[in-house]
């Protein structure tokens, strides 16, 4: 039995109310490619952060060569030979390829002048090793390099002497099929050289092709650790999801009214050919992985991203917003993903935050009618049972759930025809979640057309009448709620293969 190069033992990590890692133990062996899979928020990234020395575990330990080590800083992790390649390569565009590879380790002649000859020699060696000497030259500036080449530079940077473990965090998400194949060749070479490789990806077929072993994470725990031969795509998905859908929802038949929101072939910088309708009283879910383009659909609808082609209509009328102000005027409300950065003025009172979108209802000739404002805000705050000492309380002092209710109260006061909810329960505890769910259901019953973007599978399946699944900027499928299941949604969200890669929006 050989000693694993790096292993974690019983590692737990908590952020506020969220248990990000729960007693996780994994051993990583030399010359082995270990895939790490799980849904968004399952704890994969946190585990990487621990290995990288960015997060210190609350309990448990990390061992290198069987000896416990303190990874207190990225520097310490680097010293132990642990390198993580992130999704977004950090390349300095104004420096050359050679300088980017060896940044922080550039030799100087006489302690002052760049030793260009040495730099060039060392980087040429690396470029030859990776077989890219014909595409990249050491003296070339990195400005305008493709994502694949930038990533390659980051890998070469990580491979400086002493690298023992290399972790790739979704490396192929921005690569073409050919580029991905080249990356796999590089990774196999690393494996042959005895480097430990950790490979994080949502693309299950890739994992089956590349990895020797697969670790599945869910809700911060290690659920499975099996040789790849024992797994297939279906079983992987089941392991990743495998959580009972609670009875937070009570589905009722709702009468659907006329079409309130219609998109036809909507294409922006980030999404392509998006077509769907939402009727009055309907909740349409938008599922898919983080980065699949769901938020970008919302951005197009509210006028944040300009349309390259396609058409939209609200209430049957052609609709072409140039500014979010146009969306508000057309009767579209948005509950954005990031409550604290995009929805609320944290320092301002609940009153200001609610009345922000209804200036016409709380003023006369541009001057506030404080009496009307207070009455209106107090009514909606009471209706949604926002727990706050008074409507003059600064919103930043409320709990996450109550903050979100203030955002809902704002749109209740406006009375829109269409409401877009982007991750409406992110960072909210379970009790408040249930209240938000009931609220969403009752809004639909009142005849609002609701577009629900969510990464939480139970939420999506429990609330939506039908689910549109997105992948790589396109809608990859539609499921009626009765046929929608975790597996079905994930299958559409992750459907791999050349066909979808070729259709990828560049």
């Amino acid at each position: 039995m050989t000693v694993p190069v790096v292993s974690v033992e019983g590692v737990s990590k908590r952020f506020g109310a969220v248990q990000a890692l729960r007693d996780v133990s994994v051993a990583f062996n030399a010359g082995e490619i270990t895939a790490l899979i799980g849904e968004n928020g399952a704890g994969k990234s946190t585990l990487m952060r621990v290995l990288e020395g960015e997060h210190r575990p609350d309990s448990g330990r990390v061992l290198v060569d069987g000896q416990p080590v303190q990874l207190n800083s990225p520097r310490a992790a680097h010293g132990s030979g642990i390198r993580v390649i992130h999704q977004e390569p950090e390349i300095i565009p104004e420096l050359t390829v050679a300088e980017n590879i060896f940044i922080g380790d550039i030799k100087a002649r006489g302690g002052i002048f760049l030793d260009r000859a040495d730099l060039e020699r060392r980087s040429l060696d690396l470029l030859r090793t990776f077989g890219v000497v014909d595409v990249l030259s050491p003296g070339q500036r990195c400005h305008g390099l493709s994502p694949a080449l930038r990533q390659l530079i980051e890998i070469m940077r990580a491979l400086r002497p002493g690298a023992r473990l290399l972790a790739f965090d979704e490396p192929t998400s921005s690569l073409t099929e050919d580029e991905a194949q080249r990356l796999f060749r590089v990774i196999r070479r690393l494996k042959a050289d005895g480097v430990v490789v950790i490979y994080i990806s949502h693309r299950l077929r890739e994992i089956i092709e590349l990895a020797d072993r697969c670790v599945v994470m869910r809700d911060g725990s290690r659920i499975a650790d099996e040789p790849i031969a024992a797994l297939d795509e279906q079983r992987m998905v089941r392991l990743m999801v495998g959580r009972p859908v609670s009875d937070l929802f009570n589905r009722k038949e709702r009468a659907l009214g006329p079409v309130r929101l219609a998109l036809e072939g909507v294409t922006t910088r980030r999404v392509e050919g998006i077509s769907f309708e939402v009727r009055a009283g309907e909740i349409v879910g938008l599922g898919g992985l983080v980065g699949a383009g769901r938020t970008e659909v919302a951005r197009a609808i509210v006028g944040l991203d300009p349309l390259r082609s396609g058409r939209m209509a609200v209430g049957g009328q052609p609709y072409g917003p140039r500014e979010p102000a146009d969306a508000v005027a057309a009767g579209i409300g948005l509950v954005p993903e990031d409550r604290k950065q995009e929805a609320l003025l944290l320092m301002q009172a609940v009153r200001d935050n609610v009345s922000l979108v209804v200036p016409d209802k709380v003023s006369r000739y541009g001057f506030f009618s404080r009496r009307r404002e207070r009455a209106l805000v107090a009514r909606h705050v009471a209706e949604l049972r926002v727990k706050t000492p008074s409507i003059e309380q600064a919103v930043g002092k409320l709990s996450g759930g109550n903050q979100q209710k203030v955002v809902f109260a704002r749109w209740q006061a406006r009375g829109p025809a269409v409401l877009i909810l982007d991750e409406p329960t992110r960072g909210i505890d379970v009790g408040a979640k249930a209240e938000i769910y009931r609220l969403i259901e009752s809004l639909a019953e009142q005849g609002l057309a609701i577009l629900l973007i969510s990464s939480e599978m139970p939420e999506l399946l429990g609330l939506a009448d039908r689910v549109l699944v997105m992948q790589s900027g396109r809608i990859s499928g539609e499921l009626h709620w009765q046929e929608a299941s975790d597996e079905a949604v994930l299958a559409l969200a992750m459907r791999s293969g050349k066909e979808t890669i070729e259709r990828r929006v560049s």
Partner: protein, 329 residues
Amino acid sequence: MTDTATAGRERAPASLFGRIGAQNISLLIALVVLLAIFGALRPDVFFTPRNLINIGLAVTILGILAMAQTVVIVSGGLDISVGSIVGLSTMVLAVAAQETGSIPAGILAGLLAGLLAGAVNGLIIVYGPVNAVIATLGTMSAFRGLAYLMNNGNSIPITGDSLRALGIGTLFGLPFAIWLLIAAMAAFIVFTRETVVGRNIYALGGNPTVARLAGIPIRRYQISIYAMSGFAAAVAGLVLASRTMSGQPASGSQGLELEAITAAILGGCALQGGKGTIIGAMLGVLIIGVLNNGMILTSVPTFYQLLAKGALLILAVIVQERQRARSGE
């Protein structure tokens, strides 16, 4: 990402102390200390009605600029071209009065010039887009150059009794200019506290993304805010021209941007935007006015005065940042 870490300061409680605000209390104390120092150093002249009116007159121009600057800073911007716009508007006033032989026409032209110059700032900032500091740094030089160009760098005398009356006339024993300042102050206070547009400017400065998603047309707001700042500078220019009876390309308006920004920040404006009050800015103006007047009365050389003013601005920002760090905003 805990709630307490992002929570802001609480809304002012209803007590008298709270309503005036801790910041304004400390400004009042600073003002009283300055008055005591200069009163003790020059007991013969400092507290005479004549000197107090002098201080009042001296702060009219600065006061108008500082209040407009407060609105700009609250919106998350900065306007350092205001001193140049003051100079430019006095020159336009003088030329237009000379050409048409009519003081009202000259005044109108001067005010329009300021409005236009401010709108140019706004358009550059919004549609460049250019960072507000850089944009107005550029126009600070450009507008000053324009002012010099209008008469080869020379000032232009203005003749006209109606303008002179504006400069030296009084009402109930107070000069017109001071009444103008009081009226402007009332208008700014009502604007920032009681109107929808005023509240939206606080929202815009507090978080432009939130403001935009809430349906506030932020570009139109920004252009209007800089146009307003330019117009206010032209009103200040009108006061300057009525006092000197001339168009002055530089004299009397150089360095005003520094004092206006200092006053606004002393008064509690956060450079990050979203925070600041008109009352606070006016207290800052009074402190600067008393300091200027007192330094002249106690014969502090001009060069030291410049040194003191620069130090005051930096000190005000340091105090401001410390408070921000403490309140955890």
